[in-house]
Symmetry: C2
Subunit: 236 residues, 2 copies
């Protein structure tokens, strides 16, 4: 039986823009696993109540339910050990750092750049929830958070180590992409799906890596629906 | 025969403050290898001309000479495979990221904080060289670089992913320190040896990790001579 994954969607159901869900999409593609993706929205808490919590991704594999993108990586490596995502103990310890690097170094700058794009993409029924939870977590209004030039400048600084690594290698994990690449790339898919903003200049080694990542596994990233592909979807 | 390492020293020969040499000191201690450390100064290019380049660390192991801290890690793992520093291919690919993280994300903020301390510690014969090379590389005078509050603020932001990882684990490499820890910790030893500046508040998980790192391998870091230990060494 194919796997099932509950995945965040927007006001157009084709828009799938959670960075955490994108990590798992790439991880599943890496392992060549079939999966049914079930669109889900922020306020549909009952639909995933069976998982014991209220966020996606939620992966269902027969009798087993797994939540949290990193825990899903671990689960997939345990149950489907071919083509490991995380590797042995040392490799996995180091993979954890990429989780924090993407969530704590890259995400804040990206969020300041795309927060109003995110708000535009969220389903109307979810907008109040989105605004309330984000404003509470960050202690300011969405409109105050929105500061693309500050966001891009913070992102530019935070990208330095990624840039260094990608000047010497095609992927963070070496000659082929692996768990570390997927862990970080989710946040670039987040921005790509909801926004027309250019996060990285095309002379940047990070840009070339993004292009390579988009083409991996049959173009799983490249083929994703973006707000800019939807007629009338993007203001301006 | 014991290994030999040429190591940067300051105006007091006991001061050993190169972040790259500290990486190797820790790596050697990790493997339990004996080593004679030969003090060396920036302008003593002839003393290491046999290595084909002009920087330390230079490791000499019998007939073999190895330069560059990361290449020395690789060499040590090849020749002394017990207690690996870098691990298998995936683990090593990820270890590279810590090199760039420390050099490109952490070092700039630390440098802005300690640059005049460094200048004070450098041997008088090396000061002109130090000033000229650093000012050329960074495009401004040492005095302009010196901006501790800006440096500490940049460092604070750059530490976020480290903080996240060290909230959940004692070391970057898990339950015991490894190559990733040494790669990053070198820059904290750099600051510790030359400066009295507190880079990290004592409530920070990074602070607790620094304390643990100082105590590793018989206190190799804790026992290092600091400028503040030298009578009359520290202005103010």
């Amino acid at each position: 039986m194919a796997l099932q994954m509950y995945e965040l969607s927007g006001r157009d159901e084709r828009l799938r823009f959670s960075p955490y869900c994108w990590r798992v999409r790439y991880a599943l593609a890496h392992k060549g696993l079939e999966c049914d993706f079930i669109p889900w929205r922020f306020t549909q808490k009952e639909a995933i109540a069976f998982s014991g919590q209220g966020k996606v991704p939620v992966l269902v594999d027969g009798e087993t339910t797994v939540t949290d993108s990193y825990e899903i990586f671990r689960y997939l490596d345990r149950e489907y050990p071919d083509k490991p995502l995380l590797g042995d103990d040392t490799a996995e310890s180091r993979a954890r750092f990429f989780k924090f690097y993407s969530e704590r170094a890259l995400a804040p700058g990206i969020l300041r750049t795309i927060v109003m794009d995110l708000f535009n993409v969220v389903h109307p029924d979810d907008q109040a929830y989105f605004r309330e939870t984000r404003e509470k977590a960050l202690g300011r209004s969405l409109e105050e958070m929105h500061a693309p030039s500050k966001g891009l400048s913070a992102l530019d600084a935070a990208l330095e180590p990624l840039r260094g690594r990608l000047e010497e290698a095609d992927f963070l994990d070496g000659e082929a992409p692996g768990g570390a690449d997927y862990m970080v790339f989710g946040h670039f898919m987040w921005a790509r799906c909801v926004s027309a903003a250019d996060l990285v200049s095309n002379a940047d080694p990070v840009y070339a890596w993004i292009e390579r990542m988009l083409d991996q596994h049959g173009g799983v990233g490249r083929n994703a629906t973006r707000i800019v592909d939807i007629e009338g979807g993007y203001p301006g």
